[in-house]
């Protein structure tokens, strides 16, 4: 009888131990889990390349910075306390524009990020950006919940560098052909992603969905960043925001 009682006690202890281990593990996972809000800013063109053009880009150096800040403020208001907010900025573009503006734009952006209390990450190459998206954080614990891209764009390509290193072209860009390099595991299935650049709704959004299994909003037409701290608006008559390329434009 005593021996049977001991047996039951040991079984109960083992059960309790296993249950505790499972609950502790699940609890740790729950505590560790936090979504990431990621905002990406491309760089500005140089005035020396743009000054004599009819369609001049980036008179103001901070088009992609101010709009990103506005978005970050929105995110900070709605995010959970455990969520991570990261701001990735194309450094080379601002270094070169700093020389032209005779002011330290790098320090200025760092100050703005510090003021918002968000994590600032600089990048120089597209592979650095993709690497961060894929494995910058443990994506099983920190999937990307929201992504916003502020940069020059056409319907097939986001250009982090535009008319900055070479007049009128891009040397650092993310083309739709490279989107399969982005892991769909990096995103929550219900991730809210937006490309705020021009024409993204005419091709890019479909390719993004194919590559990442998440929907992305993009513009039919051009987007205008010249309203200061306001979010970009569509400047093309008849333009609109879409997450599927309309059938007539495929």
């Amino acid at each position: 009888m005593v021996s049977q009682c001991n047996s039951y006690t040991t079984k109960f202890q083992a059960f309790a131990l296993s249950t505790t281990l499972i609950l502790v593990t699940l609890g740790q996972k729950q505590l560790a889990h936090a979504d990431e809000f990621l905002v990406i800013s491309g760089g500005p063109a140089l005035n020396r390349f743009e000054a004599d053009k009819q369609t001049r880009h980036d008179r103001f150096w901070g088009n992609f910075i101010q709009t990103a800040e506005t978005r970050l403020i929105e995110i900070l208001k709605k995010k959970k306390s455990t969520d991570v907010v990261t701001w990735m900025v194309f450094r080379t573009g601002y270094e070169r524009r700093s020389q032209e503006e005779s002011r330290n734009l790098i320090a200025e952006i760092e100050q703005r990020a510090a003021k918002l209390n968000v994590t600032l990450k600089w990048f120089r190459k597209t592979r650095e950006l993709i690497s961060y998206i894929n494995q910058g954080l443990d994506r099983s614990q920190h999937p990307i919940k929201q992504l916003d891209i502020f940069a020059h764009s056409n319907k097939a390509c986001v250009m982090f560098d535009y008319s900055n290193r070479v007049d009128g072209v891009s040397t650092v860009f993310l083309h739709t052909r490279d989107l399969p390099l982005i892991s769909s595991n990096a995103f929550r299935k219900d991730a809210y992603t937006t490309n705020w650049g021009c024409h993204a709704g005419e091709y890019w959004v479909d390719r993004w969905r194919q590559a990442t299994d998440t929907y992305m909003w993009g513009a039919i037409g051009k987007t205008n960043y010249s309203y200061g701290a306001m979010m970009p608006i569509i400047s093309t008559p008849g333009g609109r925001w879409v997450k599927f390329v309309p059938s007539g434009r495929r």
Partner: protein
């Protein structure tokens, strides 16, 4: 402790390791790198262009009102039909037209160029194409040449709507071999 007790503990520990292990497994995404936008633009190709550099390069400006291509460049012993359509990196020296009243002031002007090819290509958004980039370190003015060709239009249909106008303008010219390829 009997076998069933060991089994229970074993089960608990196994479950724990499985749950802990998920994070490691899922996070180990393979290292991604961005492939060159175009098979033509490999480091080997640029090395080949820069190998045995000629004393100078023959260059001819061909201004285009929409595209950002600078013009053509070739070795002195090559035919103009073999010339490459290039972009100019002006970090070391501004392009010759910067000293002139307008961008098209030196249209069809020929030069002797000094410099080398950059290791990375440039993406031209209106054409949706990659181009070689020539880093200009010096130049001398030469004679005026004849029109070689306008820029090849993009057939991919994924450039901006602005390009469609350009494409119509360019329809007449396709007689030369191109140094560029569609990025898609």
């Amino acid at each position: 402790m009997n076998f069933s007790q060991w089994l229970q503990i074993e089960f608990a520990l196994t479950l724990t390791f499985v749950l802990c292990g998920c994070a490691v497994t899922n996070s180990s995404v393979s290292q991604s790198t961005v492939s060159p936008g175009n098979k033509v633009f490999t480091p080997e190709r640029v090395a080949q262009l820069n190998a045995n550099p000629p004393p100078y390069w023959d260059a001819q400006r061909e201004f285009h009102p929409v595209h950002s291509t600078w013009g053509f460049i070739k070795r002195p012993d090559q035919e103009w039909s073999e010339a490459l359509l290039v972009m100019l990196n002006e970090d070391t020296l501004p392009a010759p037209h910067r000293k002139l009243p307008r961008r098209d002031s030196d249209h069809l002007q020929r030069y002797r160029f000094y410099g080398y090819f950059d290791s990375e290509p440039a993406y031209e958004p209106f054409l949706n194409k990659l181009f070689d980039v020539f880093v200009l370190t010096g130049y001398e003015k030469s004679e005026v040449g004849e029109q070689l060709r306008l820029v090849e239009k993009s057939d991919a249909g994924i450039t901006s709507s602005f390009t469609r106008q350009t494409r119509m303008r360019d329809r007449s010219t396709s007689r030369h071999r191109y140094s560029v390829e569609d990025i898609e």
